[in-house]
Chain length 349, copies 4
């Protein structure tokens, strides 16, 4: 069933996510992992050795030396997508770009405009759509439609993420790192789009730790269906929180309420290190990775091969970037911000 001509894929960024995406490509029979680009030599060597793949320290070399490439997976830091994406588009490559598409509206606009001009496929990595929990509830909501009353989405991280996991946290925020997931799901489950947003933020704890960004943001959206949407995201949870992230989602319609507690995945451990909720978003079985982001990569590859899948595309990514930028603007200004529409690409539920 594998396509006769496998997709020939390069991965840009060899951090946690990029390495995983590379491994996912490598095990997919419809694709060939051609190259990985990562500036840090230590990481680069580890990837070369673990995945037996050509590696490069800069993108231009990779593109020049790997003419067989058909697509790129971009896993650079959130703020560093534009240059890579434009280079990929210029080289005629299709793109999977980690969420958010970009962290400024001009960056998002530039990527989408270039892609549209070049006929490039762009998929933005809103991976929660591959979580069977959200997919099933979306299916149920579509099968038994009822007006949405409200959604409340809490997606937080412990301090570990901005202070030790990410080197570039000061150039991001809980808004840029976490809220794109929440907003994408809110749109995907409800079928509604954001019209305007009010937001507030709190600073202090991270700044004192040398990471000059928001500790926490809260955003209240006006949606196209008049439902309420509240997003709360913060980056300063205690490190004794039983998972590194805390993801609680609730959606209430006129007919049903659904509560998701994504970070609490059925298994609790108590040992000398404290209390933990074990995580099963990515697992290994018989030597192969499986799970949510792996399925996302597989679908990206299938889509490159022509499968007609419903994937989060560039204009959708641009809308999310526009909306999250409006969250930050609202938090700075204290006034509600309109969210400029992009071409709607959401399927009707």
């Amino acid at each position: 069933m594998a396509s006769p001509e496998p997709q020939q894929i390069g991965v840009v960024g060899g951090g946690i996510r990029g390495s995983m995406f590379a491994a996912a490509v490598r095990q997919n029979p419809a694709a060939r992992l051609e190259a990985v680009c990562e500036p840090d030599p230590t990481r680069r060597e580890r990837i070369a050795s673990d995945l037996d793949v050509a590696t490069f320290g800069d993108l231009a070399s990779m593109i020049d030396s790997t003419p067989e490439l058909t697509a790129l997976i971009i896993a650079t830091p959130d703020f560093a997508h534009r240059e890579v994406a434009l280079a990929g588009i210029a080289a005629g490559l299709d793109l999977m770009i980690e969420k958010p598409l970009a962290t400024t509206r001009p960056d998002a606009r530039a990527i989408v405009a270039a892609a549209q001009a070049a006929g490039t496929k762009i998929m933005v990595g809103f991976e929660n759509r591959w979580n069977p929990r959200f997919a099933e509830v979306r299916r149920q909501l579509a099968a038994h439609p009822a007006p949405v009353v409200n959604q409340v989405i809490n997606l937080n991280d412990t301090r570990y993420v901005p202070t030790r996991m990410l080197s570039w946290a000061a150039r991001s925020s809980p808004g840029w790192f976490l809220m794109p997931h929440s907003l994408d799901l809110a749109m995907w489950l409800s079928g509604a789009t954001p019209i305007s947003v009010f937001a507030r933020g709190r600073r202090g704890a991270l700044a004192a730790a040398g990471v000059d960004t928001w500790d926490a943001l809260t955003a209240s959206f006006t949606m196209s269906d008049d439902s309420l949407l509240v997003l709360n995201s913060q980056w300063v949870l205690p490190e004794t929180t039983p998972a590194v992230f805390d993801f609680r989602y609730e959606i209430h319609t006129e007919a049903a309420s659904y509560h998701f507690d994504i970070s609490h995945d059925s298994v609790t451990r108590y040992d000398a290190s404290g209390a933990s909720w074990l995580q099963f978003g990515v697992t290994e079985h018989q030597g192969r990775l499986r799970g949510i982001p792996i399925d996302m990569v597989d679908d990206f590859i299938a889509s490159l091969g022509g499968s007609p899948l419903d994937l989060p595309d560039g204009p959708h990514g641009e809308l999310i970037t526009t909306a999250i930028e409006a969250v930050h603007d609202a938090a700075e200004s204290g006034t509600p911000q309109a969210i400029a529409p992009t071409r709607s690409t959401l399927p009707t539920l």
Copy 2:
């Protein structure tokens, strides 16, 4: 240890809350339940028979016929506090008034002004302060002070409350009925006061059921300590929700996170009627009522007797009314609303 001159108390309003308050007064050795005022004859007879107390159909008669009264407990519908309170103040009676103090700022202002002119004591029934859970966490926060990052408070009811429990739901809202509890706790635990508020609301389901009010409201407050405060309240949860109310509270400081799940009080029952979380806010032991609202009434009585307790007073009630009115104004207008300060009465943590 009982005071030599018991407080002589009348209760106005013989619904669920008024009946319970009357029973609480009756069992308190420092008080005498003198009279209950309730317009509905059926309820009136039941109270007279259950509590062996004089009952009246209107307040004027009760006040005229019961000159020994020293205090009133007011448990009329939320919007119907002003006239009763002013009559009580005019008669020289101290007052316990169910939350919210009033549902318009002019009503609240009028009550507080009259009370201040007359030297009347007013306590507003923010009963959650008597929940040992909130009291203990407040104590811990005061003992180990750390800046508050944010609070997220969800306090909801199933449709049962607006459609079948309350006859006057169309003159109230999830904002008036539920958010005063949330805001009072947010202030009491953090020691901060609300400065301004943005809010949004959703209508439709209750209106279709003949109760013309908001289905749901969400409010985002600017607080005096720059922390974030989000209140979510709705009145249209499915009736299969395991408790008639749904109360989840979280407060995050720079040092700790606390999560309360007040509606889930340790016992779950599954039987032919569905899944239920049993409630233990008020229980009976050896023929006496106990629990949160009973403790509140006892403290009101002790305060009348001169005990120097820290109770939610009139100006605090006025501030909450002002803030909740601002929530509704913000939801109508789509713009943030300033909250006019009243004399702060909150103890410093």
Copy 3:
């Protein structure tokens, strides 16, 4: 309403429980705390100072010097009840004895026989009957009777209890310290009595820590109503467990299932010390202790004053001791053990 002649009470044992019982007596208007007996001089002085009460280092002195005593509360270590109880009975005093009544059947028999001969009242401190959760479910089960299918009761402690809280853990076990609570509740909720028991035990971890007793015991009872009853108790939970005890109870009838999670009392805290479930079994309000064991002491005092209460009496305590002894015998022998009946004192549900 206080009795004209207050009960004059002495407390034997000034540890955690004895101190609390003494404080409970002291605040009860129907009682007078006359004396506390505690061999340790440091503890004795603290109690004398905290409670402003006469203290003694040995029981004989206390009884000799306090002729006005009418009752004793016995809170000595589990295995040290017999001598104290017999001395109290000989002195004509009524008794409240911490559970278990005794840790050998001969001890229990001797206490009950002496009490019956002397006409002494004995109440055994099975305090969970004063937890409103268990009391309410018992009431529901009685109101809607249906045959019990099974009960599964897990009551565990972290290692802290046997290794650091109790000095005498090696003379007790998870069976003696924990299972009496479970068995008492199982009988009280179901109305059934234990006929025989099979049990197994595991040793090793506590012995290695210098406390030579069982780490864990499991017991399977044959009950008089043919329902199943399984008790699991252990003393070696990790100290990162969010409460020092872990108490999960489930009872299934042909009509309903009830699940209790007693250790998870609605509030979770995450801070530098880890994850905790805050406990609210005993709280303080306006300078007075309240809660489950306080209510128990109050009811003991009311019973001494003549109130006809349904309390766990001596023969019931003897039956529990007999049954728990059989648990240990079964675990040692590997064979089911019959449980000799005592006079049943359980009310029919």
Copy 4:
């Protein structure tokens, strides 16, 4: 990567499980679904149409007409495995047999003896080993070995299963239907084997509903490592239980405690039908089934193709059958039962 000669597989039994196994075979590129055997004509036609596969009403016809078969998957009722397995062995086919291998020790013995004589591969379908939660905890326990203190495993079903889902419930029991899962996991996670068992049972509710079997069983095992193992299984949970099964597993070692709540898989729904925990054990993605039993079938097929996997084999299945038979014998007799060993096939942790 698919084997050049796909495994040619027949499925016996076209109920819920058999249909799913057939679909799993059909989508596996290393296998060919050759035939399904199902006596009921309605089911047979549905399978033929859904899966586009040859179907047969009896096994002999299927075997005769499908000489290309290399393996059978047996999903007949629990008590009806022997005849099918022996026929398959006689025909030279390898076997995957749903758990339990058999419901009498002689049946199990006969199957294993015949398979050993013929050199047949047998895998028994203990599917929970493919649940990544159990697999991960097993891995953690192996990586950080510490003596097991005890395991308590509750695996129950609502009345729906014995009264409406299974036509043959009276020939099974909660012991035969549920405990094999629990015991297999207990052995797999701990590496210990059962030596003897005490058990008790309760009858009445199902008998009154016309299904003459145990309502509930509880079993206490002596294990080879001296740890405690308690299994509780019942079939009469209220149908308002939020999942059709209730699976709570805890394992405590001297170093850590793990709690699994398998039936509560992160998503709760409240709607007109009540409260539900959505289940994600098997899901569909891009037209393909995925999840625990699908992985099991895939590994069976890989094993047929020569992959050296560690799978639950015949002697292990025989030991489980022996142990569960001993559970029933103990419950009938009231005396502990020894469990005769079979060749141990468990890998050392």
